[in-house]
Symmetry: C2
Subunit: 481 residues, 2 copies
């Protein structure tokens, strides 16, 4: 990080913490230069960054002032999906999107890729290089079926942060959260079974359910407090539901953290109806609050919560290291791992183990929590600035996703196609529903560093949205063009 | 490799090639020492190795002679499994066996682990270390869904050796053959479907079918020429079979290579009955014959052969790099990969790509073909020497597995339990059947270097077998003990 970026971050933090209030005058360039032992031009650059982020405003001949707090756009209301089991489609759209991620010229605003450019990841690839040179027999041979014991021990320690007390033998390493969730579903469900999901729900999970021939019932979900327990209860009374997939911490795509009371309530409901909770904690470590929020798994007493998580979002996707705490389904899930997937890559497991053991993991996650918080604020600010009026935006409690709801008439699937020509990829909300809801919504990946390039992308997205709204308002223009 | 080992290998090769005939006198120690420019003691050590391998015999005051050729034990007859679909069990035994593989004190005669101690693998981990240092964005991010393009290009080139003409877009990278086969089955079958297999069949495949709720019908298979096409045809006429899983090249566990005419016949049969052939080629590159045998896939004209392979046996299990050529099921299989498994580890794919591209792969495989041939001969020689009379032993055309059939009354499941106490693990034949056949058979991994330690293990196995036979012959002794 350059000096001016460092200084800009520091000042932005102070503004957030309220040390400099809205409308208040900021220190002069000269005094900051003295305070931090940096050049005048460094301070000027830092102030320019903050200005471009609209955190401060210059006033001619008076210096810089903290910008007045703008009204936050409202949060989207509780979702209202179709209340019956449906089959999942949308694979073509997901596939197109995935293919775009590997075109270097495309900006993947649609993706779930975390920021892997931070220097706090350096020890990770140093470890990978080291194991490649010094652990030959381990990296060339077969891994243990449950995964590296040393890694499972480290993960058991990490899970204490979320309140879960497990030991290494209770864990099964997988090649990411997706494969963990797929093993969990394979261990519990048969094709034709019904599983409940939050609505909207991550499209990867939806496609997994489709792949396994499982039907979903989408449950109304509040962008602030999570799945409606009342609606889930109604569904459980009406349909033979096998389990419910929840992302209670830093939900994807909505960003909420379920309050503890609601986590316990949903667990009690699961116990009453004897269903399984598939808990996806993949973003849980990226919660802004500290200590991190508890998992539903931490209150589980009869092994009905299957917790799936990974280092994919918190460290790096390329590790392909995830884990499952399968509770009472341990043996069944281990068999499924052997049968369907086999063992994992030892090299990345060894590197991840060292990364956690030596304390690099906690340092990195601490840093990413702050970075993603800043990013989300910046992207929210841009959405407010560039997007049309009448939008709703989530206020995520962690992770790096924003969910934007546009006026009913905007069709994000069409907008996404137009943006493809500009080499911008967005994830239309319809991917997050099996019943074709959320065509007027879009999920935005805020892990992309909030620089000029990405500000420009957000501006273009905003323009496309405005055009879409005008076209709908005057459909004649559309058919002429 | 030390000098005397090198010399011993050279002489063993000459004996095999018939340059020195059985019963013929070998050159004197002195003349060999001069010919090869090595010390007298080096030649003496080399001769001692060959003597211990029973390739040569010393005659007092006359020197060394090539040992007379011993009668080969007969090959087992065609298998005769139950001719109806059955469900698969045996998971407990497989799990116990897998757990033993990670106890360093246990000799895994049961495993499918290749020899990864050869120096020709050195460039592989050098590449892995290099990519960890120089390809950060690639190794930390998400891989392409179909797998690294550069790797797929290299694999398309390799597949030409087996007669298959594909391009990179026709291939999907998986994390090994097992996950490739599982995706193939998920793409084609539903739970309750019936799939035909060779009998005996690899226990990993059997457990995969069990995991997916697929029933198997075991087809009689000849240890020399492979699956009985007549029996398969009868089964196809009688049952609604979806496909057949075949390991036509260097079969596991029987070691045969199906003659080309039979490969084409089974493909024609599949076409007539409109079924899928799942072809497992994981040992195909380790065939002794050169050029390597053709795949059934190479004759496929309508995309009904799904070829699965990997670097697991030919290079190293720890890479977790396999591939599928899914033919007409490409799109379905790619969806299944996204849904059930997700993307693969980029680092090991990059290392494997460089390993193939720079020619290290072909060098390594050439070397391993010879080593495994030597090993199989040595293990066969030990089986003849130490095992009871009346055994049948396969004569594998490649790979590193021996299949030994003992007299009907020997129960290898019991013998395996007894051997556990001696820290020796063997794979009883019953694991290779869904209907409880082959309890009197055992599969032996000849990839374990044929040294004194492993000779000793084979000797102990032989003793246990002899005891088992005597116990059956005189059951009173057993009940008294």
């Amino acid at each position: 990080m350059t000096r001016y970026q460092h200084l800009a971050n520091l000042l932005a933090e102070r503004i957030e913490q309220g040390l400099y209030r809205h409308g208040e005058k900021l220190p002069s360039v000269r005094s900051l230069s003295q305070e931090h032992g940096v050049s005048i031009s460094t301070v000027q650059q830092a102030y320019q960054v903050l200005e471009s982020l609209q955190l401060i405003t210059p006033q001619p001949r008076s210096g810089y002032f903290v910008a007045p707090q703008k009204a936050q756009p409202p949060v989207p209301p509780m979702s209202r999906p179709v209340q019956r089991p449906v089959e999942i489609t949308q694979w073509e759209q997901v596939l197109n999107m995935l293919e775009g991620h590997h075109d270097q010229s495309v900006i993947p605003l649609s993706s779930g890729i975390p920021d892997v450019s931070q220097p706090s990841l350096k020890p990770l690839w140093r470890e990978l290089s080291r194991v490649a040179q010094h652990n030959l027999s381990a990296i060339l041979g077969y891994d243990e079926l449950a995964g590296s014991l040393a890694l499972r021990q480290q993960i058991a320690r990490l899970m204490l942060d979320g309140g879960s007390v497990v030991n290494a033998d209770d864990l099964v390493i997988t090649s990411g959260s997706q494969s963990g969730m797929s093993l969990a579903l394979l261990a519990v469900c048969q094709p034709g079974d019904i599983v409940a999901v939050e609505s909207p729900a991550y499209y990867g999970t939806m496609q997994l359910l489709r792949g396994l021939g499982i039907k979903v019932i989408e449950i109304p979900t509040d962008p602030d407090t999570g799945i409606s327990i009342e609606a889930l209860e109604l569904a459980l009374e009406q349909w033979p539901i096998k389990g419910v997939i929840l992302v209670p911490n830093c939900n994807n795509p909505l960003g909420f953290i379920m309050p503890d009371a609601r986590k316990r309530a949903v667990l009690a409901l699961a116990q009453r109806h004897d269903i399984v909770i598939f808990e996806d904690d993949v973003y849980g470590e990226l919660a802004t609050e500290y200590p991190r929020p508890r998992t539903i798994h931490s209150w589980d007493i009869d092994g009905r919560v299957i917790l799936c998580s990974s280092f994919t979002k918190s460290v790096a996707p390329g590790l392909r290291v995830g884990w499952v705490a399968p509770g009472r389904y341990h043996d069944k899930l281990l068999h499924m791992k052997y049968a369907v997937i086999g063992t994992n890559v030892p090299a990345t497991q060894l590197a991840a183990t060292a990364f956690v053991r030596e304390g690099h993991y906690h340092r990195h996650v601490r840093r990413m929590r702050q970075i993603y918080q800043r990013n989300r604020e910046m992207y929210t600010c841009w959405a407010r600035e560039y997007f049309p009026c009448g939008i709703c935006v989530t206020r995520p409690k962690g992770g790096f996703m924003l969910w934007v709801e546009l006026p009913e008439q905007v069709d994000m699937v069409c907008v996404a196609k137009q943006l493809c020509r500009l080499k911008i990829q967005v994830a239309p909300g319809s991917l997050f529903s099996a019943s074709g809801k959320y065509r007027n919504c879009v999920r935005i990946n805020c892990a992309l560093p909030p620089n000029e390039k990405h500000r420009d992308v957000m501006q273009k997205l905003g323009e496309a949205l405005k055009v879409a709204m005008e076209e709908v308002a005057t459909p004649g223009v559309l058919s002429d063009s």
